[in-house]
């Protein structure tokens, strides 16, 4: 029957399917012309929302573990975080390739000309050191405390992502408000833990 290890592996598999599956759907929808009159825009929006959603979900795995004590949440955290990075890189590549057609002078101009692009790029770049130190050897070499401090950058990255989304929203703030509320709840939980544990 299900022992603890099976449950953890099943959860990791579920995370894999949930993170990779939408890529297959997106590819299928593209070939079937299901993405509407402006498929490039649809891909840029979908990858951005899904990537940012995964980043928040990754942060939420910590509180989920703390509240339930189930180690499966922690076992899937690295995988989910890396998937979030992959999706957000896909978002940036879709913007550069499908939206800007690899037109570097224009990409450069938008990067400096449009505020929300700067926030988005900064949020993505902040994730790079986390990805580079995501494997076990790096964690051991750094020491646990330093590694934890470095990885708290994820809160800043997610905040930049939500600000990026907020600025580019034209009028209907429902979706971005949901992202902001989730982010605020995660930050509040983290700060609450500091108070309860009496340590950072």
């Amino acid at each position: 029957m299900f022992n603890k290890k099976t449950a953890i592996n099943a959860f990791r598999l579920l995370v894999l399917v949930a993170c990779a599956g939408p890529a297959l759907w997106l590819g299928w929808a593209w070939t079937q012309a299901e993405l509407g009159a402006n498929p490039a825009e649809a891909v840029v929006h979908f990858t951005g929302r899904f990537g940012l959603g995964l980043l928040l979900a990754t942060i939420a795995l910590g509180p989920a573990f703390r509240l339930t004590g189930w180690v499966g949440f922690m076992a899937a955290r690295r995988q989910m975080g890396l998937w979030a990075f992959v999706w957000l890189c896909g978002h940036a590549l879709a913007w550069m390739g499908l939206d800007q057609y690899w037109d570097w002078p224009w990409i450069w101009q938008d990067l400096w000309g449009l505020e929300y692009v700067r926030y988005g790029v900064a949020g993505l770049l902040l994730l790079v050191p986390l990805v580079l130190t995501s494997f076990r050897a790096a964690q051991q070499a750094m020491g646990k405390v330093a590694w934890q401090w470095l990885h708290r950058l994820v809160y800043i990255s997610a905040t930049l992502g939500v600000v990026h989304f907020w600025i580019l929203t034209r009028a209907d703030y429902r979706d971005v408000t949901l992202f902001a509320i989730v982010l605020a709840a995660l930050v509040a939980f983290r700060l609450g833990c500091v108070v309860v544990d009496r340590r950072w």
């Binding site: 509407g36 009159a37 402006n38 939206d99 224009w106 449009l114 209907d172």
Partner: protein, 315 residues
């Protein structure tokens, strides 16, 4: 001030005479057919007469010869927040817009104000096909074959007074039916405005159809404005009220974010929006981007309206 001139038509665009004659004949015949087809309907509902003939109206000299955006794209990728904020919402919820009966009020600084039935507004002999570029502030564009008539023809019928400096338009307000209006996305009803000379310009159209058919609901049925040298949001949909006045009005978007959406909203590749660089645009249905033209390519026709104005300030 430079005098307005109709754009010069290149030799390549002039229809050869035999084709021209054949087209005239075809139009006469189809017009006859349209009247014949509408005749039985006349007894019950004279309203539909103009709707039947929309595919036989003459094409305007002011049309562009650029390739048309597909009907499917024009009718499935819309900003019409009364029906929802996603691009597909307007076509998904188009049935919620009730367009019959429809009255249009013309009021304010006119000698002949009135509340008109749509059929009294639309005169079949004034209708033309106008193929215009449409440029959205979101940096996408389309080429759309509208059917409509010049706004100035309607305004002249109602005799604007000398105090008429601006024209204000108002869209339908019907939150019971229109799901988008149940939320405060913008301050309903949607309002837009033009300066009098912009409103009287020959390019400024009241459109009642596209692709030779009555206007689809998601595109602003039954009657909408089309101002091709301005960003799409100026071209207000589903108009119920036209008011002439002395003071410059505030448009719905301008009221929401004055720093983003100016009163003029002229297409201008040199003035960026905080969210979208306006230098280039994506033509829907095309890959790649094309450079945005000043006044959306209608510079020869409209630039004189803004002579001496700082277009960075009056954006």
């Amino acid at each position: 001030m430079a005098r307005y001139r109709y754009p010069k038509i290149p030799e390549s665009e002039v229809t050869p005479e035999p084709l021209y004659r054949a087209r005239r004949k075809f139009l006469r015949q189809s017009a006859g057919l349209a009247v014949a087809a509408a005749a039985p309907g006349l007894l019950i509902k004279p309203a539909a007469a103009w709707q039947g003939g929309l595919d036989a109206v003459p094409e305007s000299d002011l049309s562009t010869d650029e390739s048309l955006t597909s009907l499917d794209d024009i009718t499935s990728y819309n900003n019409f927040y009364e029906l929802g904020t996603r691009k597909r919402d307007p076509s998904d919820w188009a049935h919620q817009l009730q367009t019959d009966p429809w009255t249009l009020s013309i009021e304010g600084e006119v000698n002949k104000p009135g509340k008109l039935d749509l059929d009294d507004v639309i005169r079949p002999d004034e209708l033309e096909e106008r193929i215009y570029r449409l440029r959205c502030v979101e940096a996408w564009s389309m080429v759309i074959p509208w059917v409509g008539f010049e706004l100035r023809k309607l305004l002249e019928r109602h005799e604007p007074t000398s105090r008429a400096k601006y024209v204000v338009f108002e869209s339908i307000y019907d939150p019971d039916n229109l799901r988008g209006q149940r939320r405060d996305i913008i301050d309903w009803p949607y309002r837009e405005g033009l300066r009098m000379d912009e409103a009287m310009h020959p390019l400024t159209l009241l459109a009642v159809g596209l692709y030779g058919k009555p206007m689809p609901n998601q595109n602003g049925a039954p009657i909408r404005l089309v101002v091709p040298w301005k960003y799409g949001f100026k071209s207000i949909k589903s108009i119920v009220r036209i008011r002439l006045q002395e003071e410059q009005p505030m448009s719905a978007w301008e009221e929401k974010s004055p720093e983003e959406y100016g009163f003029y909203a002229n297409v201008n590749p040199h003035v960026d929006h905080p969210r979208w660089s306006q230098a280039r645009e994506r033509r829907i249905g095309e890959s790649g981007r094309r450079e945005t033209l000043m006044f959306n390519g209608y510079e020869d026709e409209v630039a004189h309206l803004y002579e001496g104005m700082d277009l960075e300030k009056y954006f």
